[in-house]
């Protein structure tokens, strides 16, 4: 059983939920923009430990969002800390402190891998949006 204060290992895989407008396209290939790894309100960035939650739970109530994975050591190597942050609604919740600046956020974005991609340019995405709007 995991302890609430158990440190996050550098090998740990983390998930970050990606708002649909944070997906950009390079030569038609979707990628998470560095904007997805900055938060100017909290000055810390919300993530979850992948093995302690599920993508489905992370996307609950967010039908247009996607999920990427990053590895903790790629964050720590930039001089950032990762701390657990208890959230009763989100098991495995943690925060990256401080919130990455532009250059660090870009470096994290480069390492991010899609776990669940809802491509906003796809027909299915547009149809589902239209469906939700009217029904």
């Amino acid at each position: 059983m995991r302890q609430p204060d158990e440190p996050i290992s550098p090998e740990e895989v983390l998930y970050r939920r990606i708002y649909c407008e944070w997906i950009t396209f390079d030569d038609g290939i979707p990628r998470a923009s560095s904007v997805a790894f900055r938060d100017r309100k909290e000055h810390k960035l919300s993530v979850v430990v992948a093995r302690e939650t599920s993508v489905r739970r992370l996307l609950r109530g967010r039908p247009e969002d996607s999920v990427v994975s990053i590895v903790a050591k790629d964050v720590i190597s930039l001089g950032l800390r990762i701390e657990r942050d208890f959230d009763p609604d989100q098991p495995g919740h943690a925060v990256i402190i401080p919130t990455p600046n532009i250059s660090r956020a870009k470096k994290i974005a480069v390492t991010a891998k899609w776990v669940k991609l809802r491509n906003p340019k796809s027909l299915s995405f547009k149809v589902r949006r239209w469906w939700r709007r009217f029904f």
Binding site: Y19, R38, E42, N101, I102, S103, K106
Partner: protein, 157 residues
């Protein structure tokens, strides 16, 4: 006037020209003659203005009025033909990001909720990794200097 900006290849510090102090006049002048992409940029800012609180699911407030105003001033300072529409993205906390890529060079501006602007100039290496050329910030009173950063992007300075 931007051609005199002191930016040499490989330098890590960029100094705006002394003549840039007259740029408030320049901004006013460019308002009347917009580059083709400026209208789309304005529309995009208007879309961001209408994002509801918690638009990102991370409890972000709305995009702040200060950020929107700074974005408009910054875009008017940059307003030049030959550029493409930047990526204009909302940032958690109420800010706005503007991203341009031109060949190997990229410029990222982030307008904070306070209206202050942070920027990053990067250049892509042959192995597709990126080297940071310069990181800095612009106060609201110095937003006109964004045009010199863009002149670096398009290879004028």
């Amino acid at each position: 006037m931007g051609g005199s900006a002191a930016l040499s290849q490989g330098s890590t510090k960029w100094n705006p020209p002394a003549s840039s102090q007259a740029s408030s006049v320049t901004i006013t002048q460019t308002l009347s003659r917009q580059a083709p992409w400026m209208q789309q940029a304005s529309s995009r800012l208007n879309e961001l203005r209408h994002l509801a609180p918690d638009w990102d699911g991370y409890k972000s407030p709305k995009i702040s009025d200060q950020a929107l105003t700074s974005a408009e001033v910054l875009l008017n300072a940059i307003n030049r033909e030959g550029l493409t529409l930047p990526r204009i993205l909302p940032v958690s906390g109420g800010g706005i990001a503007l991203e341009w890529k031109c060949g190997q060079r990229s410029v990222d501006f982030e307008i904070l909720p306070s209206g202050l602007v942070e920027y990053l100039r990067t250049e892509e290496n042959s192995d597709r990794s990126e080297s940071t050329i310069e990181e800095g910030d612009l106060s609201v009173a110095r937003l006109y200097e964004a045009r010199f950063i863009i002149e670096w992007l398009v290879g004028i300075s």
